[in-house]
């Protein structure tokens, strides 16, 4: 290992009831070292980091940070010791400037805020670490990637020697991820230690020195990145093989099931977010749409699902649904997997069974006239829990108690069990670990095999390439390219995602 040891955690154990979240975990981080922490949801990564940051008391084990034993600390003391944590959910006040956010809750900033000094310090630190932040900018105006840098800046200024980055790339666009990795290299060069928590093997292999894989609360393996392979790490994470290419039967697409003509969506402020999008998806075909987030993906998907008003024509299985409600589209055989489980596709306070019946509840067998059939709802819940291997104690369990992967299984089960003619999936694997991602992709391909038409929209290019029979690119609300699977030109797709096609060819739609 390089340098002196910054952090030693030995034999960390923590149980929640009968669940052993951490079961004797040892990790080491050296100064100027980036340690990757891999593991599926529920493997114990978060608990381990909460123990380190003082948010959770361990049942056993000891922590030595910069040569001193640490125990019984809280997050405030952890920060004072030099441990900084950047959470997945940013803790920033959007209506305040970068400088004000940095000063917030920081004793050194004083009661009378030394704004000018802090601003200078921010500029200086920002330059040194390549953060590129303006202290006067309003946080609300910054992109998610920039906001994350504000969190990193806060940690550095508070004297962090060790930074914990909790799934920092999960809501960043690819260029922002690149920027983050650059910042991480600077941190490393300045001698800071970093713990990088991620699902994404590619990023871990690119940036980390060492990697530790957790599974079921134990260390499943530790490797130096130099001698680790993607397949090996994935196997350690899930205990089985998930990196094999998806098996897909070659089939000739049939008639058009989803036909979209000149679809336009205008948002509340009057700016067009989807412009003149036209395409067909045929029986047994997956049309996969790539593109950087925020280029009209959600607007396109919601317009097709009936959640957002649009102009143009949408035909599902020869039935014109352009003017139809959400419920009528569902009845016409349209399933939709939305990107956010938190607000749209799942009601955390309601039971798994109720969530599984949510979009069909006004039809038999779930209700007759105005009356719910609780028995049918529960029976359907038990059946789908079994057939989709959802890990849940009972169909009556509130859906919010499930892990992210199992929540998504609930959504997938609901949308696929309808035997849809057309499936629209948007960021269907967001926040899922490789095992759960694999599950979703396999289910989508099975649906394709059963003769449905699938529109698969994702900002993960890898997934788009793996699943699409045809690949399209959405940029600035326009469908700027459509490739047959056999003619895929990665460079052209990359350029289109970046918007370079316009400058080059002036081509649109």
């Amino acid at each position: 290992m390089d340098g002196f040891s910054l952090l030693e955690m030995r034999g960390i154990a923590k149980s929640f009831g009968a669940v052993r979240a951490n079961d004797g975990i040892d990790i080491d981080v050296g100064a100027g070292q980036i340690l990757g922490l891999l593991g599926e949801n529920g493997s114990g990564k978060t608990t381990l980091m909460k123990v380190l940051f003082g948010m959770v008391r361990p049942d056993a084990g000891r922590i030595v940070f910069r040569g001193t034993a640490v125990s019984g600390h809280d997050p405030k003391q952890a920060i004072a010791l030099g441990i900084g944590m950047v959470h997945q959910q940013f803790m920033l006040v959007e209506s305040m400037t970068v400088a004000e956010n940095v000063m917030l809750g920081w004793e050194r900033a004083g009661r009378w805020l030394a704004a000018a000094e802090i601003a200078d310090e921010i500029r200086e630190t920002s330059r040194r670490y390549g953060l590129d932040l303006d202290p006067e900018a309003l946080v609300g105006d910054l992109s998610l990637g920039r906001r994350q840098r504000v969190e990193i800046l806060k940690a550095i200024l508070r004297g962090a020697e060790l930074l914990i980055l909790d799934e920092p790339t999960s809501n960043l666009s690819p260029p922002e991820v690149g920027g983050l990795l650059t910042v991480m290299r600077r941190l490393k060069a300045e001698g800071k230690g970093t713990i990088f928590i991620s699902h994404k093997l590619g990023e871990v292999l690119e940036i980390c020195d060492d990697v530790i894989v957790l599974r079921d609360g134990r260390v499943a393996g530790r490797r130096s990145v130099a001698d680790a392979t993607r397949a090996e790490l994935a196997r350690m994470m899930v205990g089985r093989n998930v990196t094999d290419p998806l098996s897909r039967a070659e089939q000739t697409p049939g008639v058009s099931l989803l036909s979209v003509e000149r679809l336009n969506v205008v948002d509340a402020s009057g700016t067009p977010s989807v412009s003149e999008v036209t395409f067909d998806v045929r029986v047994g075909e997956v049309l996969a749409i790539a593109g950087v987030d925020g280029n009209g993906q959600i607007e396109l998907a919601e317009a097709l699902a009936g959640l957002r008003s649009s102009s143009g024509r949408v035909v599902i299985a020869e039935k014109d649904v352009t003017r139809e409600s959400v419920a009528a589209r569902v009845a016409a055989g349209l399933s939709y997997i939305p990107p956010d489980r938190g607000r749209t596709s799942m009601v955390a306070s309601m039971s798994i069974a109720e969530n599984l019946a949510m979009r069909d509840v006004r039809r038999r067998p779930f209700s007759r006239a105005a009356w719910l059939s609780r028995r049918a709802i529960m029976a359907n819940g038990s059946r789908l829990i079994k057939s989709y291997a959802i890990r849940a104690p009972s169909p009556a369990t509130p859906a919010g108690q499930l892990s992210g992967g199992n929540q998504q299984k609930v959504v997938v089960a609901r949308e696929l069990d309808r035997k849809p003619q057309v499936l629209i999936a948007l960021q269907a694997t967001w926040g899922l670990d490789p095992g759960a991602t694999r599950f979703v992709l396999e289910e989508v391909l099975a649906l394709r095999g059963a003769g449905a038409a699938v529109l698969y929209i994702s900002s993960e290019l890898e997934e788009v390439l793996a699943i699409g029979d045809r690949i399209g690119v959405l940029h600035a609300g326009r469908l700027v390219g459509l490739f047959e699977r056999k003619d895929i030109d990665l460079e052209a797709i990359g350029l289109m995602m970046a918007g370079a096609h316009e400058a080059k060819t002036g081509l649109a739609a």
Partner: protein, 345 residues
Amino acid sequence: MRMAVSLNRWSGGWVRAFVTIGLTFALTAVLIAFSGKSPITAYEALFRGAFGSFDRAAFALNKATPYIISGIGIALCFRAGIINIGAEGQIALGGLAATWVALSWPQANVLVGIPLAFLGGAVAGALWSGVAAAIHVGRGVNEVLATLLLNFVALLLVGEALHDRLGEPGAGFPQSPLFEPNYWLSTVITGLQLHVGVIIAPLAAVGGYVLLRYTTLGFAIRVMGTSRSAATYAGFSVPWLTIRLMLMAGALAGLAGAIEVLGIHYRLIEGFSNGFGFNAVVVALLGGLHPLAIVPAGLFFGFLEAGALSMQREVGVPSSLVSVIQGLTMLFVLAALASTRQRTN
């Protein structure tokens, strides 16, 4: 402000309801002590005033009735995330409409007149609530504002009617003439003031419970209360649900007003329902927005007010202290809700 998300989490709230009430009484005791009276004697008088005789208890049950009936409607709205605080005005207009029916057909048969007056009250309440719903859904005005402000208009309308067409000539006080006895709600037990309206309150509670738990509309309410975006995704129309629920709540509040007028005063008196609608909101919250739990919550408020008068009479503690107790209850309920929200976030 989407309060309902946290409101729905107020489950298993028995403990919290009792803690809330306990804290309220403790704090009020301090206030009584400050005024130089013994809190123990005062609470004794309060208790005797509420439960001391069958008549007192009947009075309390009558008091609780409008709180429970309109509280159910409010709870259904809140559960769906619609912060409807328009019951105050809807109750008053319900009373006005029932009065209009009673004075327009004074000789109607009991079996026709009273149902007609109930219907009139419910329709008036629903219409008033419908105005708020139209403003909210149609023009996007915040429902809290729309419902709150229309309360004041409704109260003025009642006053206007009493000073004009419906007023008792030469009474010197804004009230309507006494109804014919065929419009008086009969008493449940002979010799007691307990009117048949009290039977409607538990029916409304059970109805609300069944609606929430066993119907597709109740399912939609629960989804919408957690997330409007989920409700839309599930295929429910949020505007249409909003309108239906507000009409329902308005009808219940209007019915409560009609019962109050036909069962207690046998005439419309200006200000007969002052504070009822706002108390009903507190009752709904104290009952954790659970239709069945609203019954004990409403009874608590009813008995509190029944006891207040004797507390004033016997100990000399002003009966307005009960408003303090009600206010503090509201405060503690909100504080408890805020703290659950913080813990769950």
